[in-house]
Amino acid sequence: MSGPATSLAARTSRSHTAPKLAASDPPWLRRAVLGVAVFAVLAFLVAPLAVLFAEALRKGLLAYFASFTDPAAWHAITLTLTVAAIVVPLNAVFGVAAAWCVTRFRFTGRSLLLTLLDLPFAVSPVVAGLLYVLLFGAHGWFADFLDEHDIQIVFALPGIVLATTFVTLPFVARELIPLMEQQGDDEEYAALTLGASGWQMFRHVTLPNIKWGLFHGIVLCNARAMGEFGAVSVVSGHIRNQTNTLPLHIEILYNEYNFAAAFAIASLLALLAIVSLLAKTYIEWRAERNAA
């Protein structure tokens, strides 16, 4: 797995031995370690977040809210929400299906499948966008067919959806695989033995067991889907009021030296990131409490 251990399974299966062992570090070392940690978090994480809101509100609340009355901004918001509304459910269903076959069965090609599943996290977002430009663009394999039927994929909504689906593809699956591996299949066998149908087993045993992991993955998938820049930038064509998502709109405003509006839109996405982190933390807390 090329992603870090951010899955719910990794975040909640930890033993909490912290206080007992803390005593072994001498006070000066403790201070030094905490000092570096606090410095790094302030300089690299808190400051960027704070400067966004400071810049966005520099000219006052009125100017801030005026940035959102621009029709192009509204269009970007609608497009971003539309893309997420298509991509997140798709990848959630895929994640459940992939986790089910990978954790409950052993078959040839399983490790190849797992590698393919990780690939979108390893590939540069720009390469991800390029893939779809080459496949569906003017020189792609399907160019003639698409032309004949007047179907536009690249530089249109379908291209943005495809590229976003690609870059967020592993989130839910990567969340559920370690979780379902850890839970094992005993409860599912018990349900079947007691006469449950496959669907009943899934609804009443599997789904409740993976609920928090599924939410956790959906939150991360959604945050990335709404914020993806590189891949969408390559396939979108940057057509104002047509293919501009929020992150692309920020770039356009910035390049036009319309900094106040750029930071206003950016602060909206920063708010989304904060909400995602809060939701994620809440889910981890709930899952930990359920496990205890």
Partner: protein
């Protein structure tokens, strides 16, 4: 292991394979075909030109340095989160994932605002002769931001699982705390440190959104490898874009396999 009584094998495997086939395999085949179609000479020209080589050097160099910086900063963070109780610990823990949740373009914009000459950090650094925004140092800063959570989230669970008994034994045999950390703790953490570095490095090489704002994108100076592809596409040079894309895809694949190997070795 294969007690195939559980239902849904065919359905879930079929759906998974079809989904991955259409969304991952087919586009990759198109990329490889386009790169092959370019011919060997054009492939070499696109991938080994002077401008391209300088862009690779920047992407690899800055990613490696940023991954090192992220390990240097992330190790203390992971240690503090795993071992210490302090006010604000949960908040710090939640904030670590910010670079995952914050859109890269937004991060790039924020970092640029911080480090331009009127910015909070830029106004303090520029009188000292340190220019960050629109220089290679800016690329390094953006990549460090991106790399930080990879390092913390890789190290944190490993530190939490550390066997405190080995440390206690070392202390009771008279070793100072520093000796214990160096001789007992650090060797156990080495595989995790290497994995964290590799993940941060691999992510850095492909990173785009957080860099393009702060780097200024000057050809031969602050141009990163992914930007080469964007430039080729803007010039309608699809063969050139496909060539560089295929090269970067091959690299990602190698990194992915290397990281999987590192993780497997770390577990055993």
């Amino acid at each position: 292991m294969s007690r195939r009584i559980l239902p849904g094998f065919g359905l879930s495997l079929g759906f998974t394979t079809a989904y991955l086939g259409v969304l991952v395999l087919l586009p990759i085949a198109a990329l490889l075909a386009a790169a092959a179609g370019a011919g060997w000479d054009d492939f070499l020209r696109a991938t080994t030109g002077n401008r391209a080589l300088l862009a690779y050097a920047l992407s690899f160099g800055a990613s490696a340095l940023a991954a090192l910086a992220a390990v240097a900063l992330g190790f203390p963070i992971a240690w503090a989160l795993a071992r210490y109780q302090f006010p604000g610990r949960r908040l710090m823990d939640a904030l670590i994932d910010l670079p995952f949740a914050l859109p890269t373009a937004v991060a790039g914009l924020a970092l640029t605002a911080l480090y331009t000459k009127d910015g909070w950090f830029g106004s303090a650094l520029e009188p000292l002769g340190v220019k960050v925004a629109f220089t290679r140092l800016g690329v390094f800063v953006a990549l460090t931001f991106i790399a930080l959570p990879f390092v913390v989230r890789t190290l944190q669970p490993v530190i939490e699982e550390l066997d405190g008994e080995a440390e206690e034994a070392s202390a009771s045999l008279g070793a100072s705390r520093l000796t214990t950390l160096r001789r007992v703790v650090l060797p156990t953490l080495r595989p995790a440190l290497v994995t964290a570095f590799a993940m941060a490095f691999a992510r850095g090489v492909g990173e785009y959104g957080s860099i393009v704002f702060i780097s200024g994108n000057l050809p031969n100076r602050t141009e990163i490898a992914p930007l080469l592809i964007v430039t080729k596409l803007e010039q309608y040079d699809y063969a050139g874009a496909a060539s560089i894309g295929a090269l970067m895809l091959a690299l990602s694949f190698i990194f992915l396999l290397a990281i999987n190997l590192l993780q497997r070795r770390a577990k055993s």
